[in-house]
Amino acid sequence: MTQLVKPYGDTQNDGKVQLSFTLPLEWSEAADEAARRLAGKMGFTDVQVVDGRKIATGYSFFVLYASTPQAVDVDSIAPSSERTHAMSMDEIDALIEERIGRKIRVAGACIGTDAHTVGIDAILNMKGYKGDYGLERYHMFETFNLGSQVAVEELVRFAKQHRIDALLVSQAVTQKGSDIKNFTQLSELLEAEGLRDDVVLICGGPRVTNRLAGELGYDAGFGRGTLPSEVAAFIAVRLAERRRDAARR
């Protein structure tokens, strides 16, 4: 069964959407009309330019309401995240103890020129995030927080030296794709150094999605609102699986 849904204004399937954008045009009635046509080209119907005004010489800002004919099939969407295994800190520690039998060594850093450590700190520090303790608080994690603006080369060197099991890297600055650039550099360097399979490689940041992480060759990616336990659980389960698979061979 497929369930098609459309945006809802005040009536099922009216498809109502609000838009706003700037056009590099001096404001005039013709500019309003340009905005209307542009929305038409985007495929919207019943387009209303409810506000259009000059915001600077040669620039106008518009607010529109319109209907979209598009619908999306929600049943085809599998939750795209790794936040699946809801486990408590103790359960996770227990799992590691039993299935791995030793502490997991985790290293985290804010790579490239990015200095936004609050996010990675929220995952690693004792304190944690929103009442959910960070990895340092777990018995079965040994964590190294390398902090901000860490060069990927340095991080890889560190991982080798300290036989790290899981690498956690964060990027908050996404402008001009700098986050993708840095994430890619890291995974490529790990490949080159033949270390990729020795670590669980995880990225995160406000704009990260698990899909993106997959595309970049990471084991998982975590976005806004991530809780440390979700990450801890993922690492533990993933490593346990690897153990098992290794054992099988």
């Binding site: 809802y8 204004g9 005040d10 009536t11 099922q12 109502k16 609000q18 706003s20 209303q48 330019v49 409810v50 506000d51 259009g52 005004r53 607010v63 309401y65």
Partner: protein
């Protein structure tokens, strides 16, 4: 917050309001309207429509010969009850099918007719006090959040979409939901029947629609553990009948203004005065909070200039309400945040006006309306104007807070708009919850001066009205710049003088019970 005002001036304004209303009340006592009579039939239990879709109360009244009108419908109907032995509902149905006509029942003496009516009058009133009782129990068990009570409108035109929207709004923090009427309903001299799914700019006010919303809101009230109130509109040609329907279906508030219909819908003033009185007696008895419409003065004229008129109207509405037996806590006097937002210090003027009302009507359930006139398609700025309105409301302790919509200038609210609007109110009122308690307005400062000007302006206005009399004052465009003739406007033909033998069982009953209630 503290604001110093001239208490003597306030006292004088109240005296003037009393002087203005007294003669009108005398007139009201000597007259009735078709809507009052139909309301009596509804209270007796008459409902439904004829095969021609005419509401049965209308059909019955229209069948009453002109010459009998002055006596009121009750006696004639009572005779029919006595002679047919049917109950009012059944009798109504029968008459609708033409099985009986009012004129055939002549035998029964008046006394017997009154007797036949009595049980139905009692059960009619019991039904209402039952609902009043139910409301207070629910409020006990499911207490509301502290005021300002967040109030939103739904207006899709389709009662079932409205229900969806109302439940969603309640979950998002709404404490009161009003269903906006379709445009033009207030000009109909009958109340539509049954659930409706078609309406323009709003949804028809029908008893069935009232019930559908009440059921849905009772359900979500239980789920949320707080009682969610329901509101609709009375003002118009059918004020008394809507008051009956609202009482029966346990609405909690009704828009009910003593002059709105006259000024803004060109409804005859005599018709309106008589109707508002009877409907307000019912509101009082059923524990319904009335909302007056002072905000309307500000949508057509400048809000800075109109401030005294708004206050004058509040005094007049208060007086009419008291005369109908409404206690202060059931009087939702209106005001609105309609000063041009681009006026320097406009926020100060708004605070002055809002706090002034708070000081003058300390017990009233002040109803604060959002910015509408100056809202534009710039939804981002509109959201900010609403925020300053929200701040003013929590600072000045308004009681009923009608949440503004960032899309006010565009469409009747979308589900998402309402959620953003409630988010706005919740955020502002929480972050500044006790700000009002923390500040003292500088004595002799701009705010105090502004409040003083409004108050003295109001006194002057009331003096003019008292001098000429309310009806003449309205004719000479004293309010909202519109002139209405005492015998002009819609629905005047529905007004009639009472004969000595005029009888309306409910009026008596209500008058008796009210003194009790309002204390």
């Amino acid at each position: 917050m503290e604001l110093k005002i001239d208490r003597e001036c306030v006292a004088r304004c109240r005296e003037l309001a009393a002087a203005i209303v007294a003669p009108v009340e005398a007139f009201i006592a000597a007259h009735s309207t078709v809507s009052v009579e139909r309301a009596a039939l509804r209270l007796l239990g008459v409902d439904g429509v004829t095969p021609e879709e005419i509401p049965i109360p209308n059909a019955i009244l229209d069948a009453l010969p002109e010459r009998q009108r002055p006596a009121g419908i009750a006696l004639a109907f009572g005779k029919a009850l006595a002679e047919t032995g049917l109950d009012p509902a059944a009798l109504g149905e029968a008459m609708a099918l033409g099985r009986y006509s009012l004129t055939e029942f002549t035998e029964t003496p008046e006394g017997a007719a009154r007797g036949a009516l009595r049980p139905h009058v009692e059960s009619g009133l019991e039904r209402i006090s039952g609902q009043r009782q139910a409301r207070s129990e629910l409020l006990e068990r499911l207490p509301q959040l502290p005021p300002p009570l967040l109030y939103v409108i739904v207006a899709s035109g389709n009662i079932y979409e409205d229900r969806t929207a109302a439940v969603a709004a309640a979950e998002a923090g709404a404490q009161v939901v009003a269903v906006i009427r379709s445009t033009g309903q207030s000009l109909l001299d009958f109340v539509p029947f049954g659930p409706t799914t078609e309406g323009f700019g709003g949804t028809y006010a029908t008893q069935a629609n009232f019930r559908i919303m009440r059921v849905a809101l009772d359900e979500v009230s239980e789920k949320l553990g707080r009682y969610v109130m329901l509101t609709n509109y009375a003002s118009g040609l059918c004020m008394p009948e809507i008051a009956v329907m609202a009482a029966i279906e346990r609405l909690d508030m009704l828009l009910n203004d003593s002059m709105y219909g006259i000024l803004f819908r060109d409804i005859n003033m005599k018709r309106t005065f008589i109707d508002q009185h009877f409907s307000r007696m019912l509101n009082a008895f059923s524990g319904i909070i009335i909302n007056t419409g002072e905000d309307n003065y500000l949508t057509t004229a400048d809000a800075v200039d109109q401030a005294p008129a708004v206050l004058a109207s509040q005094f007049i509405n208060e007086e009419f309400a008291h005369r109908a037996g409404l206690p202060d806590r059931q009087i939702g006097l209106g005001d609105a945040y309609e000063i041009n937002p681009d006026l320097e210090d406009s926020f100060l003027y708004q605070v002055a006006q809002a706090q002034l009302a708070r000081e003058i009507f300390p017990e009233a359930a002040l109803k604060y309306m959002p910015p509408t006139k100056h809202m534009t398609g710039d939804i981002f700025k509109g959201h900010l104007i609403d925020a300053m309105f929200n701040l003013t409301s929590v600072m000045t302790g308004q009681r009923i807070h009608l949440c503004g919509m960032l899309t006010e200038a565009i469409h009747t609210p979308f589900l998402g708009d309402r959620s953003l609007s409630l988010e706005n109110a919740r955020y502002i009122m929480n972050t500044a919850r006790h700000f009002g308690d923390e500040i003292v307005l500088r004595p002799g400062g701009a705010v105090e001066l502004r409040a003083h000007d409004v108050l003295t302006g109001c006194e002057a206005l009331l003096e003019r009205v008292a001098a000429t009399g309310l009806m003449n004052a309205i004719e000479s465009a004293t309010f909202a710049d519109v002139s209405r003739a005492p015998e002009g406007g819609r629905g005047f033909d529905g007004v009639f003088e009472r004969a000595p033998e005029y009888f309306n069982p409910f009026e008596e009953a209500l008058r008796g019970s009210l003194t009790a209630v309002s204390s």
